[in-house]
């Protein structure tokens, strides 16, 4: 049987493939300010329930899956528009640099909803906690194709159990795993050993 890919891994992968492998292969989970804030925020959206808000039916912590793509996960919030169209909303706490990664993750949720409910899901939204703003994301053919590509790449990454080399660039500054990853130390290790140990 094919391994199921967690939807959250897609977002990690788009941000940095090594981050994805650290979390989903090495099971490293370092807490920093962002992840802690994220957890507290998630506690409010993590409780499964359904409710009516402004006349919309709202599902929280809805389990999602797609057999076609082989992915599983959970939606923070899915709203149902009056005509029954599902509208996924993902809650974001960190800096807004990981845009593309967030969009890929949201679109993967939409693909699951389409398969599960048999209805088109043309758009959804990212809710940024810092600005308390929603940003609508349209699930274009291009974005959908990217999700498929990323799923395949993540499946391969998780299957071969190795860590990709560190990015060691500006991404690392906002990365919660920087202490476990040691991006710069590992990059510099060969030269350092040459100097100090040979």
């Amino acid at each position: 049987m094919e391994e199921l890919v967690p939807i959250s891994a897609l977002q990690h992968y788009v941000y940095c493939p090594r981050q994805c492998a650290l979390i989903h292969v090495e099971q490293v989970w370092e807490e920093n300010l962002y992840t802690l804030r994220g957890q507290r925020l998630h506690q409010t959206v993590d409780v499964p329930d359904s409710a009516l808000r402004d006349g919309l039916r709202v599902e929280r912590a809805l389990p999602l899956w797609s057999e076609k793509l082989g992915i599983v996960g959970r939606a923070d919030v899915v709203e149902f528009l009056p005509d029954g169209t599902p509208y996924p909303v993902d809650y974001k706490t960190g800096p807004r640099r990981a845009r593309r990664a967030d969009e890929v993750q949201l679109c993967a949720q939409a693909l699951c909803l389409e398969e599960m409910l048999g209805r088109a899901v043309p758009s959804g939204a990212l809710y940024h906690h810092a600005s308390r703003r929603r940003r609508e994301v349209r699930f274009t053919a291009e974005l959908r194709a990217e999700v498929e590509k990323v799923v395949a790449e993540v499946r391969e990454l998780l299957g071969n159990d190795r860590l990709p080399a560190p990015a060691a660039d500006s991404r690392c500054r906002d990365c919660s795993l920087v202490e476990a990853c040691m991006p710069h130390a590992l990059r510099g290790l060969p030269a350092w050993l040459e100097r100090e140990w040979k």
Partner: protein
């Protein structure tokens, strides 16, 4: 005494009660709240002697993977909280595979030993620099350690590596007495004795190594390594072989130097030891406390990690090295380099 070091909270006040209030840890003494710390500031809790911890706090720590260590009032290790088995099974497997591979095993043993010798030599060189009259014996010993280092670097066989290590230790300990500037007749060092230590300096060294071994074991656990599967030290039930391996590079830098400083500053002196019939020498409770406090303070000092080129508290060094080791074992880093003082 309640103190927070790095992210570990040390509670030494007797009959204190530690419990959980939502996401906050609360320390009460005589029914009054003495301290409140948000859980997310804490990685671990260390309690000494008669300190009560509420079951809910224990459950929560286990769940979050935060550590709790129980010591007796004198700082002897008693127990440690172990939550459900979790973490990286691939890392633990890689750790075993490296053990089975004679080349990788010898490589690691060699690195631990060369790290140990380099740091021992560094202690001697430092003393020669700071106290020019420590004598020519120390200089000769430093040179001899240089030879041991070359030999260790060439050695490919585990027995050979252990042999060089033994010789280097003998050379180093043969001049340790020259570094004790306190000239009290009772504070002299001749030869290393353990199980039990038979003079004051040895009993201090043993205590320092115990603390260090626990820190190294925690560091291994912290990154998901099994502290019992080591490379230089043979596997024995109950022996934390990997923690002992990792400890080699820190013995001189962390333990020995602190013992010397404390003796030279007379923070601990002859009256702090008890001789038992038969010759075993023990530390008094007060001396243990004095040393423990000095050790904790030392762990807070910052130094530059040579490879990371980053300021880090001394207490984090074993954790950093454990992580570098894990990276090597998972073949994410091509090699492992021990911490070397400069």
């Amino acid at each position: 005494m309640i103190s927070q070091l790095l992210n570990t909270l040390y509670v030494q006040t007797q009959s204190a009660y530690v419990h959980l209030d939502h996401d906050t840890l609360v320390v009460e003494v005589d029914k009054t709240v003495r301290l409140q710390v948000p859980l997310h500031h804490l990685g671990g809790l260390a309690v000494f002697g008669n300190v009560l911890i509420s079951p809910f706090l224990i459950h929560r720590f286990a769940e979050d993977g935060r550590s709790i260590v129980w010591f007796d009032q004198n700082g002897r290790f008693r127990a440690r909280l172990v939550g459900p088995v979790s973490g990286n099974v691939l890392l633990r497997r890689a750790q075993h595979e490296a053990y089975e591979d004679p080349d990788r095993r010898a490589f690691l043993a060699r690195r631990f030993v060369t790290g140990k010798i380099r740091n021992a030599r560094h202690v001697l060189l430092r003393a020669m620099r700071d106290y020019p009259d420590v004598g020519s014996r120390v200089e000769a010993a430093a040179r001899e350690l240089e030879n041991c280092l070359k030999e260790a670097n060439r050695a490919t066989d585990l027995e050979e590596i252990r042999g060089v290590e033994g010789r280097a230790a003998a050379v180093y300990f043969s001049v340790l007495d020259c570094l004790i500037l306190n000239k009290d007749a009772a504070i002299r060092f001749e030869v290393r004795t353990k199980h039990p230590p038979r003079d004051p300096v040895n009993s201090l060294l043993s205590f320092a190594y115990t603390l260090l071994a626990h820190d190294c074991a925690s560091a291994c656990e912290g990154v998901g390594l099994d502290p019992q599967v080591g490379y230089l030290h043979a596997l024995r039930p109950g022996r934390p072989a990997l923690a002992l391996d990792l400890m080699e590079e820190f013995r001189a830098f962390l333990a020995d130097r602190l013992v010397l400083t404390i003796l030279n500053r007379r923070q601990i002196s002859e009256k702090d030891f008890i001789e038992r019939p038969g010759g075993a020498v023990l530390l008094t409770d007060q001396a243990r406390r004095t040393f423990l406090e000095a050790y904790q303070r030392r762990k807070q000092e910052e130094i530059t990690h040579p490879l990371l080129r980053q300021q880090v508290p001394v207490g984090l060094l074993p954790h950093i090295q454990a992580r570098l080791l894990a990276r090597y074992l998972r073949q994410d880093a091509a090699e492992y380099a021990p911490f070397v003082a400069r």
